[in-house]
Symmetry: C2
Subunit: 151 residues, 2 copies
DNA sequence: GCCTGTAATTTCACCGTCGTGACTTCGCGA
DNA sequence: TCGCGAAGTCACGACGGTGAAATTACAGGC
Protein backbone atom coordinates (compact mmCIF):
# COMPACT_ATOMS: atom_id res chain seq x y z
CA UNK A 1 0.00 0.00 0.00
CA UNK A 2 2.40 2.63 -1.14
CA UNK A 3 0.51 5.54 -2.66
CA UNK A 4 2.65 8.29 -1.30
CA UNK A 5 1.55 10.22 -4.31
CA UNK A 6 -0.35 13.46 -3.91
CA UNK A 7 -2.95 15.14 -6.08
CA UNK A 8 -3.59 18.72 -7.15
CA UNK A 9 -6.85 20.43 -6.35
CA UNK A 10 -8.06 20.19 -9.87
CA UNK A 11 -7.31 16.48 -10.26
CA UNK A 12 -8.73 15.77 -6.85
CA UNK A 13 -12.01 17.37 -7.85
CA UNK A 14 -12.08 15.33 -11.04
CA UNK A 15 -11.31 12.06 -9.32
CA UNK A 16 -13.82 12.58 -6.57
CA UNK A 17 -16.48 13.90 -8.91
CA UNK A 18 -17.11 17.33 -7.43
CA UNK A 19 -16.50 20.85 -8.76
CA UNK A 20 -13.28 22.64 -8.04
CA UNK A 21 -15.24 25.46 -6.41
CA UNK A 22 -16.81 22.96 -4.06
CA UNK A 23 -13.47 21.47 -3.10
CA UNK A 24 -12.19 24.98 -2.54
CA UNK A 25 -15.20 25.86 -0.42
CA UNK A 26 -14.77 22.78 1.72
CA UNK A 27 -11.11 23.57 2.27
CA UNK A 28 -11.78 27.17 3.21
CA UNK A 29 -14.62 26.25 5.56
CA UNK A 30 -12.53 23.55 7.23
CA UNK A 31 -14.57 20.54 6.23
CA UNK A 32 -11.50 18.93 4.77
CA UNK A 33 -8.10 20.47 4.07
CA UNK A 34 -5.40 18.88 1.93
CA UNK A 35 -3.15 16.80 4.19
CA UNK A 36 -0.05 16.96 2.02
CA UNK A 37 0.09 20.72 1.52
CA UNK A 38 -2.38 23.41 2.42
CA UNK A 39 -2.70 26.68 0.54
CA UNK A 40 -1.30 29.89 1.98
CA UNK A 41 -2.26 32.66 -0.37
CA UNK A 42 -2.94 32.77 -4.08
CA UNK A 43 -0.23 31.21 -6.18
CA UNK A 44 0.38 28.42 -3.67
CA UNK A 45 -0.87 24.89 -4.34
CA UNK A 46 -2.95 22.45 -2.36
CA UNK A 47 -1.91 18.79 -2.41
CA UNK A 48 -4.28 16.02 -1.44
CA UNK A 49 -3.32 12.52 -0.31
CA UNK A 50 -4.98 9.24 -1.22
CA UNK A 51 -6.53 9.24 2.24
CA UNK A 52 -8.02 12.62 1.47
CA UNK A 53 -9.52 11.24 -1.72
CA UNK A 54 -11.21 8.51 0.29
CA UNK A 55 -12.65 10.95 2.76
CA UNK A 56 -13.78 13.26 0.02
CA UNK A 57 -15.54 10.45 -1.75
CA UNK A 58 -17.31 9.44 1.43
CA UNK A 59 -18.45 13.02 1.83
CA UNK A 60 -19.61 13.14 -1.75
CA UNK A 61 -21.57 9.90 -1.32
CA UNK A 62 -23.26 11.22 1.78
CA UNK A 63 -24.21 14.44 0.01
CA UNK A 64 -25.52 12.54 -2.99
CA UNK A 65 -27.75 10.54 -0.68
CA UNK A 66 -29.36 13.78 0.41
CA UNK A 67 -27.59 14.52 3.69
CA UNK A 68 -26.90 18.15 4.44
CA UNK A 69 -23.34 19.35 4.63
CA UNK A 70 -23.82 20.29 8.24
CA UNK A 71 -24.51 16.69 9.26
CA UNK A 72 -21.54 15.56 7.26
CA UNK A 73 -19.41 18.03 9.18
CA UNK A 74 -20.66 16.61 12.47
CA UNK A 75 -19.99 13.07 11.38
CA UNK A 76 -16.45 13.83 10.32
CA UNK A 77 -15.61 15.84 13.38
CA UNK A 78 -16.52 12.78 15.37
CA UNK A 79 -15.01 10.01 13.34
CA UNK A 80 -12.19 11.11 11.10
CA UNK A 81 -9.69 8.74 12.76
CA UNK A 82 -11.83 5.68 12.17
CA UNK A 83 -11.50 5.89 8.42
CA UNK A 84 -7.76 5.44 8.28
CA UNK A 85 -7.57 1.71 8.42
CA UNK A 86 -8.67 -0.92 5.99
CA UNK A 87 -12.05 -0.11 4.74
CA UNK A 88 -12.91 -2.80 2.27
CA UNK A 89 -15.64 -4.65 4.15
CA UNK A 90 -16.61 -1.98 6.62
CA UNK A 91 -19.81 0.04 6.85
CA UNK A 92 -20.34 3.56 8.03
CA UNK A 93 -23.52 3.93 10.09
CA UNK A 94 -24.79 7.36 11.00
CA UNK A 95 -27.46 7.95 13.60
CA UNK A 96 -28.14 11.66 13.81
CA UNK A 97 -24.85 13.15 14.91
CA UNK A 98 -23.50 9.87 16.25
CA UNK A 99 -21.73 7.50 13.91
CA UNK A 100 -19.86 4.22 13.89
CA UNK A 101 -17.75 2.15 11.56
CA UNK A 102 -18.78 -1.50 11.69
CA UNK A 103 -16.32 -4.16 10.59
CA UNK A 104 -18.74 -7.01 10.10
CA UNK A 105 -22.11 -7.52 8.51
CA UNK A 106 -23.51 -9.07 11.68
CA UNK A 107 -22.60 -6.02 13.65
CA UNK A 108 -24.49 -3.95 11.11
CA UNK A 109 -27.62 -6.06 11.30
CA UNK A 110 -27.47 -5.86 15.03
CA UNK A 111 -27.40 -2.10 14.99
CA UNK A 112 -30.26 -1.96 12.52
CA UNK A 113 -32.44 -4.13 14.70
CA UNK A 114 -31.88 -2.08 17.81
CA UNK A 115 -31.52 1.27 16.17
CA UNK A 116 -34.04 4.04 16.56
CA UNK A 117 -34.82 6.86 14.23
CA UNK A 118 -33.11 6.95 10.88
CA UNK A 119 -29.89 5.10 10.22
CA UNK A 120 -27.75 6.09 7.27
CA UNK A 121 -25.65 3.21 6.03
CA UNK A 122 -22.71 3.43 3.63
CA UNK A 123 -20.64 0.49 2.42
CA UNK A 124 -17.10 1.80 2.45
CA UNK A 125 -15.69 -0.87 0.16
CA UNK A 126 -17.57 0.60 -2.75
CA UNK A 127 -16.17 4.02 -2.03
CA UNK A 128 -12.61 2.77 -2.27
CA UNK A 129 -13.34 0.97 -5.48
CA UNK A 130 -14.81 4.04 -7.06
CA UNK A 131 -11.87 6.18 -6.09
CA UNK A 132 -9.38 3.66 -7.43
CA UNK A 133 -11.27 3.34 -10.68
CA UNK A 134 -11.43 7.09 -11.09
CA UNK A 135 -7.71 7.42 -10.46
CA UNK A 136 -6.89 4.88 -13.13
CA UNK A 137 -9.20 6.53 -15.58
CA UNK A 138 -8.32 10.14 -14.93
CA UNK A 139 -4.75 10.03 -13.77
CA UNK A 140 -2.54 9.26 -16.73
CA UNK A 141 0.96 7.95 -16.16
CA UNK A 142 0.91 6.64 -12.62
CA UNK A 143 -0.12 3.08 -11.78
CA UNK A 144 0.76 3.29 -8.13
CA UNK A 145 -2.60 2.15 -6.81
CA UNK A 146 -3.12 0.52 -3.42
CA UNK A 147 -3.84 -2.64 -5.45
CA UNK A 148 -6.64 -4.23 -3.46
CA UNK A 149 -4.59 -5.45 -0.50
CA UNK A 150 -7.63 -6.79 1.30
CA UNK A 151 -10.92 -7.91 -0.16
CA UNK B 1 -59.07 2.21 13.78
CA UNK B 2 -61.46 5.11 14.03
CA UNK B 3 -59.53 8.33 14.49
CA UNK B 4 -61.70 10.45 12.32
CA UNK B 5 -60.57 13.28 14.50
CA UNK B 6 -58.65 16.18 13.03
CA UNK B 7 -56.04 18.49 14.50
CA UNK B 8 -55.42 22.21 14.31
CA UNK B 9 -52.17 23.57 12.94
CA UNK B 10 -50.91 24.52 16.35
CA UNK B 11 -51.64 21.15 17.95
CA UNK B 12 -50.26 19.35 14.96
CA UNK B 13 -46.98 21.18 15.32
CA UNK B 14 -46.88 20.32 19.02
CA UNK B 15 -47.66 16.68 18.49
CA UNK B 16 -45.16 16.24 15.70
CA UNK B 17 -42.49 18.28 17.44
CA UNK B 18 -41.90 21.01 14.89
CA UNK B 19 -42.50 24.76 14.97
CA UNK B 20 -45.72 26.22 13.71
CA UNK B 21 -43.77 28.30 11.20
CA UNK B 22 -42.22 25.15 9.83
CA UNK B 23 -45.58 23.44 9.45
CA UNK B 24 -46.84 26.57 7.73
CA UNK B 25 -43.85 26.67 5.42
CA UNK B 26 -44.31 23.03 4.45
CA UNK B 27 -47.98 23.61 3.73
CA UNK B 28 -47.44 26.62 1.54
CA UNK B 29 -44.55 25.03 -0.34
CA UNK B 30 -46.63 21.92 -0.96
CA UNK B 31 -44.58 19.43 0.97
CA UNK B 32 -47.63 18.39 2.92
CA UNK B 33 -51.01 20.10 3.08
CA UNK B 34 -53.68 19.35 5.68
CA UNK B 35 -55.96 16.63 4.28
CA UNK B 36 -59.03 17.51 6.30
CA UNK B 37 -59.16 21.23 5.51
CA UNK B 38 -56.69 23.48 3.77
CA UNK B 39 -56.35 27.17 4.46
CA UNK B 40 -57.82 29.69 2.07
CA UNK B 41 -56.88 33.11 3.33
CA UNK B 42 -56.07 34.40 6.77
CA UNK B 43 -58.71 33.68 9.36
CA UNK B 44 -59.38 30.22 7.93
CA UNK B 45 -58.14 27.10 9.66
CA UNK B 46 -56.10 24.14 8.57
CA UNK B 47 -57.12 20.71 9.83
CA UNK B 48 -54.75 17.77 9.81
CA UNK B 49 -55.72 14.10 9.93
CA UNK B 50 -54.03 11.32 11.87
CA UNK B 51 -52.51 10.15 8.59
CA UNK B 52 -51.03 13.60 8.16
CA UNK B 53 -49.50 13.38 11.62
CA UNK B 54 -47.82 10.13 10.63
CA UNK B 55 -46.39 11.60 7.46
CA UNK B 56 -45.25 14.70 9.25
CA UNK B 57 -43.48 12.64 11.86
CA UNK B 58 -41.72 10.63 9.18
CA UNK B 59 -40.59 13.87 7.60
CA UNK B 60 -39.42 15.19 10.92
CA UNK B 61 -37.43 11.99 11.58
CA UNK B 62 -35.81 12.21 8.19
CA UNK B 63 -34.83 15.83 8.78
CA UNK B 64 -33.49 15.03 12.23
CA UNK B 65 -31.27 12.42 10.68
CA UNK B 66 -29.67 15.13 8.59
CA UNK B 67 -31.47 14.74 5.27
CA UNK B 68 -32.20 17.92 3.37
CA UNK B 69 -35.77 18.94 2.82
CA UNK B 70 -35.34 18.62 -0.90
CA UNK B 71 -34.58 14.90 -0.67
CA UNK B 72 -37.54 14.45 1.61
CA UNK B 73 -39.71 16.09 -1.02
CA UNK B 74 -38.45 13.65 -3.63
CA UNK B 75 -39.11 10.69 -1.41
CA UNK B 76 -42.65 11.74 -0.65
CA UNK B 77 -43.51 12.60 -4.21
CA UNK B 78 -42.58 9.05 -5.03
CA UNK B 79 -44.06 7.14 -2.15
CA UNK B 80 -46.89 8.90 -0.40
CA UNK B 81 -49.37 6.11 -1.17
CA UNK B 82 -47.21 3.44 0.41
CA UNK B 83 -47.52 4.91 3.88
CA UNK B 84 -51.27 4.49 4.20
CA UNK B 85 -51.47 0.93 5.35
CA UNK B 86 -50.31 -0.72 8.49
CA UNK B 87 -46.92 0.48 9.33
CA UNK B 88 -46.03 -1.22 12.55
CA UNK B 89 -43.29 -3.58 11.38
CA UNK B 90 -42.33 -1.88 8.14
CA UNK B 91 -39.16 -0.05 7.25
CA UNK B 92 -38.65 2.86 4.94
CA UNK B 93 -35.47 2.57 2.89
CA UNK B 94 -34.22 5.49 0.84
CA UNK B 95 -31.55 5.18 -1.80
CA UNK B 96 -30.92 8.59 -3.28
CA UNK B 97 -34.23 9.59 -4.81
CA UNK B 98 -35.55 6.03 -4.94
CA UNK B 99 -37.30 4.61 -1.92
CA UNK B 100 -39.15 1.52 -0.79
CA UNK B 101 -41.23 0.33 2.11
CA UNK B 102 -40.16 -3.14 3.21
CA UNK B 103 -42.61 -5.29 5.15
CA UNK B 104 -40.15 -7.80 6.56
CA UNK B 105 -36.79 -7.69 8.23
CA UNK B 106 -35.36 -10.20 5.78
CA UNK B 107 -36.27 -8.00 2.88
CA UNK B 108 -34.42 -5.16 4.58
CA UNK B 109 -31.26 -7.18 5.14
CA UNK B 110 -31.37 -8.23 1.53
CA UNK B 111 -31.50 -4.68 0.32
CA UNK B 112 -28.67 -3.68 2.61
CA UNK B 113 -26.44 -6.42 1.30
CA UNK B 114 -26.99 -5.56 -2.33
CA UNK B 115 -27.43 -1.83 -1.94
CA UNK B 116 -24.93 0.65 -3.27
CA UNK B 117 -24.19 4.11 -2.04
CA UNK B 118 -25.91 5.32 1.07
CA UNK B 119 -29.08 3.74 2.35
CA UNK B 120 -31.28 5.62 4.79
CA UNK B 121 -33.33 3.28 6.94
CA UNK B 122 -36.27 4.26 9.12
CA UNK B 123 -38.33 1.89 11.26
CA UNK B 124 -41.88 3.10 10.79
CA UNK B 125 -43.28 1.34 13.83
CA UNK B 126 -41.39 3.70 16.08
CA UNK B 127 -42.82 6.68 14.27
CA UNK B 128 -46.38 5.58 14.93
CA UNK B 129 -45.61 4.94 18.56
CA UNK B 130 -44.14 8.36 19.02
CA UNK B 131 -47.10 10.07 17.40
CA UNK B 132 -49.58 8.13 19.53
CA UNK B 133 -47.66 8.90 22.69
CA UNK B 134 -47.52 12.57 21.82
CA UNK B 135 -51.25 12.68 21.15
CA UNK B 136 -52.04 11.15 24.52
CA UNK B 137 -49.73 13.53 26.26
CA UNK B 138 -50.61 16.74 24.46
CA UNK B 139 -54.19 16.24 23.41
CA UNK B 140 -56.39 16.52 26.48
CA UNK B 141 -59.87 15.05 26.41
CA UNK B 142 -59.81 12.63 23.53
CA UNK B 143 -58.76 9.01 23.91
CA UNK B 144 -59.68 7.96 20.41
CA UNK B 145 -56.36 6.42 19.49
CA UNK B 146 -55.87 3.73 16.83
CA UNK B 147 -55.14 1.43 19.78
CA UNK B 148 -52.40 -0.79 18.36
CA UNK B 149 -54.47 -2.90 16.00
CA UNK B 150 -51.46 -4.72 14.71
CA UNK B 151 -48.15 -5.27 16.42
C1' DG C 1 -79.02 39.44 14.11
C1' DC C 2 -74.96 42.07 14.96
C1' DC C 3 -70.59 43.17 17.09
C1' DT C 4 -66.36 42.12 18.94
C1' DG C 5 -62.36 39.34 20.58
C1' DT C 6 -59.45 35.80 19.50
C1' DA C 7 -56.86 32.68 17.22
C1' DA C 8 -55.19 31.30 13.01
C1' DT C 9 -53.24 32.54 8.48
C1' DT C 10 -50.53 35.93 5.50
C1' DT C 11 -47.09 38.87 4.35
C1' DC C 12 -42.59 40.70 4.31
C1' DA C 13 -38.16 41.51 5.44
C1' DC C 14 -34.23 39.14 7.00
C1' DC C 15 -30.73 35.45 8.43
C1' DG C 16 -27.45 31.46 7.70
C1' DT C 17 -25.89 27.82 4.62
C1' DC C 18 -23.97 26.13 0.38
C1' DG C 19 -22.30 27.03 -3.20
C1' DT C 20 -21.09 29.56 -8.01
C1' DG C 21 -19.21 32.78 -11.70
C1' DA C 22 -15.96 35.84 -12.86
C1' DC C 23 -12.28 38.54 -12.13
C1' DT C 24 -7.87 39.47 -9.52
C1' DT C 25 -3.54 37.86 -7.44
C1' DC C 26 0.46 35.76 -7.24
C1' DG C 27 3.79 31.66 -6.47
C1' DC C 28 6.33 28.50 -8.98
C1' DG C 29 8.37 25.71 -12.68
C1' DA C 30 10.47 25.93 -17.15
C1' DT D 1 12.07 36.19 -15.94
C1' DC D 2 7.57 35.18 -17.42
C1' DG D 3 3.32 32.92 -18.19
C1' DC D 4 0.20 29.73 -16.43
C1' DG D 5 -2.55 27.65 -13.37
C1' DA D 6 -4.23 27.69 -8.93
C1' DA D 7 -5.94 30.31 -4.90
C1' DG D 8 -8.50 34.51 -3.27
C1' DT D 9 -12.27 37.84 -3.35
C1' DC D 10 -16.73 39.53 -3.96
C1' DA D 11 -21.27 39.68 -5.27
C1' DC D 12 -25.09 37.00 -6.08
C1' DG D 13 -28.84 33.25 -5.95
C1' DA D 14 -31.65 29.37 -4.15
C1' DC D 15 -33.26 27.05 -0.13
C1' DG D 16 -35.25 26.74 4.46
C1' DG D 17 -36.85 28.92 7.73
C1' DT D 18 -38.18 32.80 11.31
C1' DG D 19 -40.11 37.01 13.91
C1' DA D 20 -43.39 40.35 13.98
C1' DA D 21 -47.03 42.85 12.31
C1' DA D 22 -51.27 42.86 9.55
C1' DT D 23 -55.48 40.30 8.04
C1' DT D 24 -59.52 38.06 8.62
C1' DA D 25 -62.94 34.09 9.60
C1' DC D 26 -65.58 32.65 13.06
C1' DA D 27 -67.65 31.79 17.71
C1' DG D 28 -69.85 33.75 21.74
C1' DG D 29 -72.33 37.23 24.05
C1' DC D 30 -75.93 40.47 24.06
Amino acid sequence: MSTSETYSGKRTAEIVGITYRQLDYWARTDLIRPSAADASGSGTRRRYTYQDLLELKVIKSLLDSGLKLESVRDVFAYLREQLNEDIASANLVINGSKSVVTRSGDELIDILQNGQGVLNVLALGGVKEEVDAAIVELHPGVSDLPTAAEA
